[in-house]
């Protein structure tokens, strides 16, 4: 066995350049030696991994399986050497990649949620992140980017916006980002679990062809083994205590240990689907004041030809982009009936989550209406609002339970039990009965052991079951679940499906959005969506279609600012700020602002000024004028006018010029032209891309709190309390997201330049053009005007 000595790979960390047009072969996959690895995060009593020893031959392809919460993701992070990047705890034992502890660019890690890996606004730049971090020269970076995108069969060009990708496309993009480093060890965490079957097949094919072509060693975590057994040569199983319980060739291991593995919860191919766990109806029954829910079959919720059009929200990136409108749902009718389970199915991006959010009353349709009906309205008073999205938080919570697709967003309290109890408490239910029901549900869903734990410390599969418990514990009449079975093993699947069936049998109207064929089989009725519309009754899978996007307005002459880079625009803004204090009399102020207005067409072109963007600035100018008049010595009108013009002198051009700056280009310029340290600049740019996502997260937290009965209500105090809770919730999620981003970015070499001698490189140049010099000179001249005028 030929091992590469660590000292030959450590100094540069840059593997050989790739060949354009295809996956880059590596000389050999990595050889992995794990010795007695044990890991206990601080704050957990039991270790997550116990005495793991593994020996992986170079080029082997390993499937890592095990029950929900058995430490599979943790082991992958340990192999990637990023376990301690964001977590603290007791770590013993060792992981050696080719005999070395330093991993460098030899290991590629793909996390559960590919969105955590996104660092840039355009596809090519995102894939380039790894090669940039390891200091590759620019021409090699782009050949790597091209070959990585080809190897995953990516359908769009390098300038495609990362925000406009479907789930499967994002997954392939993240995979390309990993492969661009030509890692010799590829680690993938549930790469297809959130995808519909056809997208999953595409991603699976991309993975296998890329790994085969490169010869890299592969370790893959998946729950559904059947699609993978033919692709891998070894199976390693972790048990619920974090130990290796089976290890060997796939076929032989499955043949000899099928029963014991299935009993542990592993989805062994060929073993019949698990039965439903018998769940007492009392744990899931509706508790509406009107009695035991509705009579079976009566309509509870009725969506009448609803459409949803999504508009791009305010964005730090919006300045240079046309506004996008997406038709997420079009003229869809749907009913939810008591005692019936309806499955909403269709490919990724078809509008399943949008429709389920409407049926749960947490979102409002753009057109059409979702109404409550019949028994659901009992106890609502004389004239309840027609549309359920207008119902008060308490009224909605008493009748609805909802689990969003991102189950981690469902957390509303500090411990699992308190969280699951919170809606019952808020609705003023009898506490003993509520406690008994919650304890029963936690027991059934296998969460008793973590009842006092922080929900955020749960694994992906556990979080989903926890969110299910929280949605049903108070006894809603309608239960709406978005992908409830993702990340579940056989045993926990049977518990989830058991709760769904028991709820239905107890008279609850259940709505499931799912890709899971076993769960779909459980449903009484199906609604099949494709591209936002209902299609025929037969389930049919097809690749996600592009949703219609509305055309953007055409561009006009953009003036000098259109020919300037971000740095000169920014410096121009700041120069004007520095010139403003020299405006000391009204005459100077009028002349200086007049000059600005005169040169405005040259700088900004002839486009109509963006009044909406200017409105806050004009408001600010007015308020400065007013307050300076009011509080000046002698209340002179001229003092107010002078103060207003002085502020207008730098604020108005500043707002207009800043709207032309692209944040990522600015990052490139700050790093290359000004030589600012690369890591802070790159971290800031990556974080700015999350702005929209965090804004959506705020909305989602508000929806969760409303459907859980924790909405703000009418009193000012309630509103303040709600804003405080949302603020804290957003910051907590921000910190969690930052931790996952840090793992993904470190795995792609974010801090590589700190430990090696190779500085980071930049995939795109930061040119300084004649327009930039012109812009700067012009700004200096205008800014110097007040000083010059005050001398004459």
């Amino acid at each position: 066995m030929s091992r590469i000595p660590p000292e030959t790979m450590a100094p540069t960390g840059v593997p050989a350049a790739g060949v354009a047009g295809g996956p880059t072969p590596v000389e050999q996959g990595a050889h992995v030696e794990v010795r007695d690895l044990t890991w206990r995060p601080f704050g957990r009593r039991e270790p997550v991994l116990v005495g793991i020893s593994l020996h992986l031959e170079a080029g082997s392809r390993v499937l890592l399986a095990g029950p929900s919460g058995s430490g599979k993701s943790t082991l992958l992070r340990a192999l990637a050497g990023v376990l301690t990047a964001t977590e603290t705890g007791e770590l013993s034992g060792s992981v050696l990649i080719d005999g070395s502890r330093s991993t460098g660019s030899s290991v590629g890690l793909l996390l559960q949620d590919p969105a955590d890996a996104l660092v840039a606004g355009r596809v090519g730049r995102d894939v380039a992140f790894g090669p940039e971090s390891f200091g590759m020269p620019r021409d090699q970076i782009w050949s790597r980017v091209r070959s990585a995108l080809v190897s995953v069969g990516f359908p769009y060009d390098q300038d495609h916006a990362t925000s406009a990708l479907s789930g499967g496309e994002t997954q392939r993009l993240a995979l390309a980002g990993v492969l661009a480093l030509t890692p010799r060890l590829v680690l993938l965490d549930e790469p297809t679990s959130m995808l519909d079957p056809s997208s999953a097949a595409v991603v699976r094919q991309a993975i296998m062809s890329a790994v085969r072509a490169s010869g890299a060693t592969l370790v893959l975590v998946e729950h559904q083994l059947s699609d993978w057994v033919d692709e891998v040569d070894r199976l390693v199983v972790l048990d619920s205590t974090g130990r290796v319980s089976a290890d060997g060739p796939v076929a032989a291991t499955l043949a000899t240990q099928a029963d014991s593995l299935a009993a542990q919860g592993v989805w062994v191919p060929g073993v019949p689907a698990p039965g439903l766990l018998g769940v007492a109806g009392a744990l899931c029954a509706p508790t509406l004041p009107g009695g035991h829910g509705g009579s079976s079959g009566s309509v509870l919720v009725w969506a009448d030809s609803v459409s949803v059009t999504r508009r791009a929200r305010a964005s730090v990136m919006s300045a240079n982009r046309p506004p996008r409108q997406v038709q997420a749902l079009q003229d869809v009718c749907a009913e939810v009936r008591a005692g019936e389970c309806v499955a909403v199915i269709g490919p990724s991006g078809a509008g399943k989550s949008t429709l389920t959010a409407l049926l749960a009353g947490v979102d409002a349709p753009t057109r059409g209406r979702v109404r409550g009906r019949g028994e659901l309205l009992v106890g609502m008073g004389a004239s309840p609002p027609d549309a359920i999205h207008r119902w008060a938080s308490g009224a909605l919570a008493a009748r609805f339970g909802w689990v969003p697709q991102q189950a981690e967003q469902a957390v509303v309290a500090a411990t699992v039990r308190d969280d699951v109890l919170s809606t019952s408490r808020r609705l003023g239910r009898d506490d003993d009965a509520a406690q008994a029901r919650v304890d029963g549900l936690l027991e059934v869903l296998g969460l008793s052991a973590v009842a006092d734990a922080d929900p955020h410390s749960l694994s992906g599969g556990e979080l989903r079951r926890f969110a299910l418990a929280g949605a049903i514990a108070h006894g809603p009449s309608v239960l709406v679940l978005d992908e409830p079975s993702v990340g579940q093993d056989r045993l926990t699947w049977s518990a989830v499906a058991g709760v769904v069936a028991a709820a239905r049998d107890a008279g609850v109207g259940v709505v499931l959005a799912t890709h899971d064929p076993l769960l779909i089989a459980l449903a009484d009725r199906r609604i099949t969506l494709a591209a936002g519309r209902i299609i025929g009754p037969v389930a049919e899978q097809r690749p996600p279609g592009r949703l219609p996007t509305m055309p953007a307005p055409a561009g006009r002459f953009a003036g000098l600012a259109g020919r300037s880079g971000p740095l000169s625009l920014l410096v121009a803004c700041i120069v004007l700020v520095c010139g403003a204090p020299f405006i000391s009399d009204l005459r100077t102020a009028l002349i200086a602002c007049g000059i600005e207005i005169a040169v405005a067409p040259i700088v900004l072109g002839f486009a109509r000024p963006p009044w909406r963007r200017l409105l806050p600035a004009l408001f600010a100018v007015a308020s400065v004028s007013f307050s300076n008049w009011l509080l000046s010595p002698g209340r002179e009108l001229s003092a107010g006018g002078l103060a207003g013009l002085r502020v207008a002198f730098f604020v108005v051009p500043g707002v207009l010029l800043a709207s032309r700056i692209d944040p990522s280009e600015l990052g490139d310029h700050l790093g290359q032209r000004l030589g600012l340290p690369a890591r802070p600049v790159v971290a800031a740019a990556a974080a700015l891309y999350r702005f929209e996502g965090l804004g959506e997260h705020w909305d989602q937290l508000a929806r969760i709190r409303r459907v859980r009965g924790l909405g703000p209500g009418r009193s000012p105090l309630g509103r303040i309390r709600s804003v405080v809770a949302l603020t804290l919730g957003l910051l907590i999620e921000t910190l969690r997201q930052a931790g996952r981003m840090a793992v993904a970015m470190e795995a792609r070499g974010f801090s590589a330049a700190v430990t090696s001698a190779t500085p980071r490189t930049w995939a795109e140049p930061a040119p300084w053009r004649p327009g930039d010099s012109l812009m700067l000179v012009l700004a200096l001249l205008v800014a110097a005007m007040p000083l010059v005028l005050s001398q004459v």
Binding site: R44, A85, E87, T88, A314, V316, M317, A319, A414, H456, S457, L570, C573, I574, L576, V577, A580, P616, A617, F619, A620, S623, V624, N628, L631, S632, A639, A643, R646, V647, F650, V651, V652, P653, G654, V655, L657, A658, I661, R679, A683, A684, A686, A687, L688, F691, L694, G695, W698, T727, L728, L730, L731, I732, T734, L735, R736, A738, M745, E746
Partner: protein, 194 residues
């Protein structure tokens, strides 16, 4: 005291999250409050502390020199790119506000991170912002007495909203377990062993 990758990413992400909240505040609440304080503008300065929070929170979470300036500057960039009412002047404000907090931490030699340093940080942040920038620009034509009153309102806001509020926020986040990778989270864990 080298920054870890997670320090940089977390500080930047916190800043962007505050940017999201500032955006909501700027568009939904601030205009309303400004109208209320229009009759007596210095009262509006009692809200200044809200914009200084990222500096104190960044500094208390990451606890490295430069954290306050970095966090506040990234938050200012969010406002700049969204289109705010002061244009690029927010960047200058961001640096000044961050520097005020940095000075407070340096006075305590980066060894204390309790209520004293948080309040001093908030106050100095407000002083830097008002004395070095707002007196020159937004309130340049106030009489001297009003300028001092204006400064006083800003300092009170810096002490209460930024200092006390920021510290309470960091403690709440630490209790939630979200700061386990950072010193405040580790301190909480050490005081309540599992």
């Amino acid at each position: 005291m080298r920054w870890r990758g997670v320090d940089l990413i977390t500080a930047a992400m916190l800043a962007v999250a505050f940017g999201v909240m500032f955006w909501g505040f700027d568009t939904l609440i601030y205009p309303f409050l400004s109208v209320l304080t229009a009759g007596f503008p210095p009262l509006g300065e009692l809200m200044l502390g809200i914009w200084l929070i990222p500096a104190v929170v960044g500094a208390l979470v990451v606890r490295r020199p430069g954290a306050a300036v970095f966090t506040e500057l990234v938050a200012a960039n969010v406002e700049l790119f969204l289109g705010n009412k002061w244009g690029a002047a927010v960047l200058l404000s961001g640096v000044l506000q961050g520097l005020g907090v940095e000075l407070a931490l340096a006075l305590f030699r980066h060894r204390r991170f309790g209520v004293a340093v948080a309040v001093l940080g908030g106050v100095l942040s407000a002083v830097f912002e008002i004395v070095f920038f707002e007196w020159q620009s937004y309130v340049a034509d106030y009489s001297s007495a009003w300028k001092v009153i204006y400064l006083g309102c800003g300092m009170v806001s810096g002490a209460v909203v930024t200092g006390v509020g920021g510290l309470l926020l960091v403690r709440a986040l630490a209790r939630s377990g979200a700061l386990n990778a950072f010193p405040p989270g580790q301190e909480i864990r050490e005081s309540h062993p599992a």
